[in-house]
């Protein structure tokens, strides 16, 4: 009898790259449905552009790098990058926004660094940050959250030709995000209550009308991921905890000039970022203690950029900044090996 010779580990969790990626994609679905409910068909159109672009750029780069194409294309990682980027894009965007962003994310942020497992930066966030820097106007034209919106074909027509149905223009149907509004109005010395009144209950129940539901759904999906152990609790808890604490401290200091902690948690990209972007196993810290530092850093930077920075939401930049710090964090948080002394 040949018992078969193999090296450790002898027990594994049954996880594999495609399985994890697929679960993450499934967990995104509730949030995406809420996104479509409040912001219209744009997300589907962006997805329809981003996913084929991601697969095509991945195939092109794998071919140039003389790597096998099929196993890498079927591990869903490119699809996940495209999906995350598509969710982050404004719902009413010209097609080339998703196209350029996804191609940049896959070609430059992922494949030029060596492909899956070698990229120090989260590809979707690199793509998003690039778009935000290069096309600030297109990237900040959001729609107001509402349950009745443009028909699918009108949305598609705008995406392809940037033509709106007659009687509309982009300024009349678009609106800055709650995050953006709060930032600009606070800059004009308005108080939080005045902003809320001027924009007819902008903040909803928790933070941002419409946005709170999208964030809650992403929170739900994230809880599922923690429950089935695709991600660990450390990073999301640290992100949310530090963002909450920062916001609380400043709100207690001056309640009129700072948005509430709940607004920070349930508006913008917080829940999507904390559970789905910051937890990217490749670009995040790997030690358990390191993950707490990494998550806390993201929360703090997000708050700093949201409050004093030049852009309305800072999650992408916060993630990229902390990605840069990951090697240092991992170096200083190596766990003590059993039997060795702590030094």
């Amino acid at each position: 009898m040949n018992p078969g010779i193999s090296s450790s580990p002898f027990l594994n969790s049954g996880n594999s790259v495609p399985r994890i990626m697929l679960w993450v994609l499934l967990a995104l679905i509730p949030g995406m449905l809420a996104h479509i409910y409040f912001f219209g068909w744009g997300l589907l159109i962006n997805l329809g552009i981003a996913i084929p672009t991601a697969l095509a750029s991945e195939a092109l780069m794998l071919r140039l790098r003389q790597r096998p194409i099929k196993p890498f294309l079927s591990d869903y990682s490119a699809i996940l990058t495209a999906t995350l980027l598509a969710i982050a894009l404004p719902p009413l965007a010209p097609w080339w926004l998703a196209f350029i962003g996804t191609a940049f994310a896959i070609i430059i942020a992922k494949q030029l660094y060596g492909g899956l497992g070698y990229n120090p930066f989260n590809p979707a966030m690199v793509g998003y940050a690039m778009l935000l820097i290069a096309f600030p106007r297109e990237m900040t034209t959001w729609l107001p959250a509402q349950s009745h919106h443009m028909a699918f074909m009108d949305s598609l027509r705008y995406s392809l030709f940037e033509v709106l149905p007659s009687g509309h223009n982009i300024d009349s149907i678009s609106m800055a995000t709650p995050m953006d509004i709060v930032k600009t109005r606070l800059g004009l010395n308005m108080t939080i209550d005045e902003i809320n009144a001027q924009f007819h209950n902008l903040f909803g129940m928790l933070g941002g009308r419409g946005w709170e539901w999208v964030n809650l759904m992403f929170l739900l999906g994230g809880m599922l991921l923690i429950f089935i152990r695709v991600i660990s609790w450390h990073i999301p808890v640290a992100v949310i905890g530090s963002l909450f604490s920062c916001a609380l401290v400043f709100q207690l200091a001056d309640i009129d000039a700072h948005a509430s902690p709940l607004f920070h948690l349930f508006s913008g990209a917080t829940m999507l970022g904390a559970f789905f972007i910051a937890t990217d196993p490749i670009s995040a810290a790997t030690t358990l203690r390191g993950r707490l530092y990494y998550g806390a850093g993201i929360g703090i930077f997000t708050y700093i950029i949201r409050t004093w920075g030049g852009y309305p939401d800072g999650f992408a930049f916060a993630v990229l900044l902390m990605n840069m710090a990951v090697p240092t964090i991992d170096y200083y948080t190596q766990p003590r090996v059993f039997g060795h002394q702590d030094d």
Partner: protein, 228 residues
Amino acid sequence: MSHPYRDIARNGLWSNNPALVQILGLCPLLAITNTMVNSLGLGLATTLTLIFSNVTVSAIRHWVRPEIRIPVFVLIIASIVTVIELSMNAWFHELYMILGIFIPLIVTNCTIIARAEAFASKNSIPHAFADGLFMGLGFTLVLLLLGTLREVIGFGTLFRQIELMFGDHAKWLTVHLFGNYRGYLLAILPPGAFLGLGFMIAFKNMIDKRIARKHQAIPVKQLVQIVK
């Protein structure tokens, strides 16, 4: 030393290019190359500085004691840059305003002190002159290529603001490549410079590798024939 000038030229333009191989003078290289005209202006100013400083350093190389050579080189380079800065201010005032701090900063461009130290202080005046010329040209060409790339991608134009250098008569040279181009801000901002330079270095390394492979193939064949 069969063809000293050919070697100097090849060194400066390709195999030891200050921007692509030595990666010197990155600060002006990355900051200024957002249009062709800016690149050309800075490139020419740097080339002039290189030629004058190389020639001067070479001319006094027998009289400068090694202990104090670096301060002497810096003084020479600083004087030359001051002359160039004042002349640009006089004759190309708008371009001078755009290039701004980067003209006086040519003093700190490592390429210049590196060539003075590594080449001019050890070689005759004509050789030092050629080295300054070709190193400067190599730098200018990279600047110009990067500037062109960034201008075409960023603004969708060629020879934008050419009138700064050649006067209003040259305005017709500005070409708009695409109708109704929105511009790609990233290419004009610093990240575009880093990305562009990275791609240029990668492209040069690729060409070098191709050439090396071609040269390698012949000796192996000969070896096989010899063994046979």
